[in-house]
């Protein structure tokens, strides 16, 4: 590389003068040259500065000279299928510095081309770009970790003669798994049912379905690890549905060994109707206590576009009782939608089941969504809400008053 650079520099030096002359900047250039040549300093550095005038278009020559091999390389693949064209377009966007992934698979390209609009294409590419970025970062961190481990390993090898003695046996992960599984198996016989309603596939985009399944996987694992797990039911579950395919991606062979009940039937066929309570944020009824003899239903749905009333409509159709979490009663809500993720729901329900303590359970609501707890009473809550509102809205008024005050004050001072 350095050699090339030197070469380029030499070329530049030699070519600069004639090039400039050609382009008729002679008149401007010569006085400059003369002064430079006449300048008394004949040190090493300035010896070639005489010939190094500014050639502003030199970069063009450099760009054009490098073309030969580039164009050859380009002409090699001439297949102009749509996929190749799309790939090329993505590559050009990457060169232009947009948020676009470096590597893109044919499947992803196909999804990209199926996007209906420019904006959705952009969004999808950004999604892929971020995914790639996270993956890369994870990989880098893993490698750093491995290096660190190797280092400590080497240190430990030096002190090998000190053998540790420990009175506790090490409890390995699979032993833990066995106890967890034992508990879940118990719950499948004696435990309280918790139903995930899997009938929302048509209301969601593929990405939302993937998110849903991910959240359910999280919920299932936190249920398994709890002291007194629920007996999880997947109702309205269709074989070979999008849900099913996503689950297989996550669980692989473990899918068939999961300690949950999966059924195509509806929850109304499995449980008596009067025992069922459908949990939905749109419900007009607010949940007061957690009841241990009821069957709670959670809709397996992620709605990024906030489609209100979808799960409430399900419950209405079947004539079921509904309930929503008493978020407003216990929390000073600040921002964000009141629908929570499925794993948050699971955490909240598990805590309620164990303790019945709303404050403890609602700790699992994301912190960004509320300002604080209001555990006292509804009237207190209303007061503080009003206070917050007046603080928020009345700020301007207060500022005006303050300014007025300042004005008056300065007037008084002047009068004195």
């Amino acid at each position: 590389m350095q050699a090339v650079n030197m070469l380029l520099k030499n070329v530049a030096r030699c070519s600069a003068l004639p090039f400039a002359v050609q382009h008729g900047v002679k008149k401007d250039l010569f006085p400059l040259c003369r002064t430079l040549m006449l300048s008394p300093c004949l040190k090493e550095g300035s010896s070639h500065s005489a010939s190094e005038k500014l050639d502003l278009d030199e970069w063009k020559k450099v760009m054009k000279s490098g073309v030969q091999e580039a164009s050859e390389a380009v002409s090699e693949h001439k297949e102009l299928s749509t996929v190749a064209a799309a790939r090329e377009a993505v590559e050009m966007w990457r060169l232009a510095g947009r948020s676009v992934p470096e590597n893109i698979s044919d499947d992803q390209l196909k999804t990209l081309m199926e996007c209906p609009s420019k904006a959705s294409r952009k969004k999808y590419l950004k999604f892929l770009y971020l995914k790639e970025l996270y993956k890369k970062n994870d990989k880098r961190k893993m490698e750093e970790k491995r290096e660190r481990r190797l280092e400590t390993q080497a240190e430990r090898d030096l002190k090998l003669d000190e053998i540790k003695r420990n009175s506790f046996t090490c409890l390995w992960a699979n032993a833990m798994d066995r106890t967890h599984n034992w508990r879940v198996a118990q719950s499948m016989i004696f435990g309280q049912p918790l139903v995930f309603d899997m009938s929302f596939e048509n209301d969601m985009s593929p990405r939302e379905v993937a998110n849903t399944v991910r959240q359910i996987v999280f919920s299932e694992s936190s249920n398994r690890k709890s002291v007194d797990p629920f007996h999880i039911h997947f109702c309205n579950f269709q074989e070979n549905s999008q849900y099913h395919r996503e689950f297989l991606k996550h669980y692989r062979q473990a899918w068939d060994k999961l300690l949950i009940t999966v059924t195509e039937r509806c929850y109304t066929e499995v449980f008596p109707k009067n025992k069922i309570i459908y949990l939905t944020a749109d419900s007009p009824k607010v949940m007061k206590t957690f009841e241990h003899d009821k069957v709670y239903i959670v809709g397996s749905m992620v709605d990024r576009s906030i489609k209100t009333g979808v799960s409430l409509a399900r419950a209405k159709r079947l004539g079921l009782e509904t309930a929503s979490l008493p978020l407003d009663k216990y929390l000073l809500w600040s921002s964000g939608a009141k629908n929570l993720t499925l794993d948050q729901m699971m955490h909240i329900l598990l805590t309620l089941k164990d303790t019945g303590d709303w404050r403890k359970a609602l700790e699992f609501v994301p912190k960004r969504k509320y300002c604080g707890f209001v555990g006292r009473s509804v009237s207190d809550l209303r007061k503080s809400l009003n206070l917050v509102n007046t603080l928020k809205l009345g700020k301007k008024r207060e500022e005006v008053q303050e300014r007025q005050f300042a004005k008056n004050y300065s007037k008084k001072m002047l009068q004195k």
């Binding site: 090339v4 500014l54 502003l56 970069w59 490098g66 064209a85 050009m92 209301d203 009333g309 209405k316």
Partner: protein, 468 residues
Amino acid sequence: VQPPEKPLQTEEWKRLQENFQSPEIFEEVMLNNMIKCNSRVDVAKSLLTYVAKSDGDIGYTLLIKYLALCVQQQKTSEICDVYDIMKMRFKTLESGAYNLFIRGLSNSDKWRMALTILEDVKKVMTPSRTSYESCIKAAGRHQEINVARELYHDMLAKDLVPTLDVLQAFFDFSRGMKDAELKQELFGILSYLRDNQIYPHRMFMRSIKLWFESIPGENWRGHLTNIKHSGQCPVCHHQLEDSNLTEEEYRILKERITTDVIHGRDTFRKTSPQEFEAFQAFVEDRLPFDIVIDGLNVSHIKPKKMHCENLFHAINCLAKENVRLLVLGRKHMLINSSNWKQEVMKEMQNKADFFFAENISEDDAFLLYATLRSGKHCRFVTRDFLRDHKACLSDSLTRHLFRKWQRGHQIVVSSSAEGKHIDFLPAFNYDCVVQTTGDTWHIPYKDMFEEKYSYQVPRKWLCLQQKQ
């Protein structure tokens, strides 16, 4: 960092780069700032030379940024040079680069090159509407009307929405021309404005006015005016069109409101089938109504008064001339509470028909259905803009119908309602769209460039009439 005033030597650039906090992105940051400060092209060139010397190559982003600077300063020869280089180095370019080339070249004497680039772009992707805009304007400026028209039709065929600037440009460069075909084209643009309920802004309106007045031998005169509630133009005393829909349009709207707004994908989301059937039977029984009132909405007009008092007052205001009223409410209104006194409710039910929906149902959907079912004369009262219901309609044509119907049939509470009386502003007697009778044109326009809310309609009009 402040870009330098004069072109720098390699050594000087090197020093600057070394002193910069993150040298790896030095060139990009520097060029960005040059674009921002509109530095001289020479300075950017010297930077590129420095980069070319030290790396032996210049990255795509840098070239684009340099190009942006050249376009900004209209350096045509530079743009051509960059185009040659890019063409040689890259097989295809991305849309941003094409946009810049087209914009840069269309403003120069090499505008035909912009057209050829546009043709190239078409082979790979759909050009952006601003690219079309640049080319059309360039063609118009050079009196190539046919080229401009072809491009315009091409653009419409590709489902691109033309910018208002393009439309305005057509009026500008056709001024004073006598060409029947072109005239038809411009009338086509005016009816495009009409169909899509687009209101031109002041500058655009001026272009339209000047074009009309410049048509040789037709003697058009344009006046700016305000049109009052009656819908009569103060200049030519012409009565503007009313916003009644045709039978066919009315039928379509009625159908779509029922299928898209009330039922949607799941009837249970807004109501339930039983309830809707009950409502339909109720309406059929008592048809037709003259005014349908959104009870809950009206009951909140004055926050300090009791809800039922507000509603009572509103009903008294509207019930004067022996009109048939329908009030829509929810069941909770029937339970005696501090806001809903049952004696008042009883009294109101003597003056108007009431329908009470379930507490979790949406009463707005019922409001629309009852009004449409009652016929064209029926109006409705609510302060709601009904934007969420409009959004439920699946295509833009029906949404336009809905807006038109809404303008003509919604009675809104006037702003003076803050005072003692509730006043109801009757619905518009005329329709606020571009309209013509052959020898007159009436064109609503807006003062500001951007209209903030979709429910606001302009009050200012351009009245054009042909003097014989």
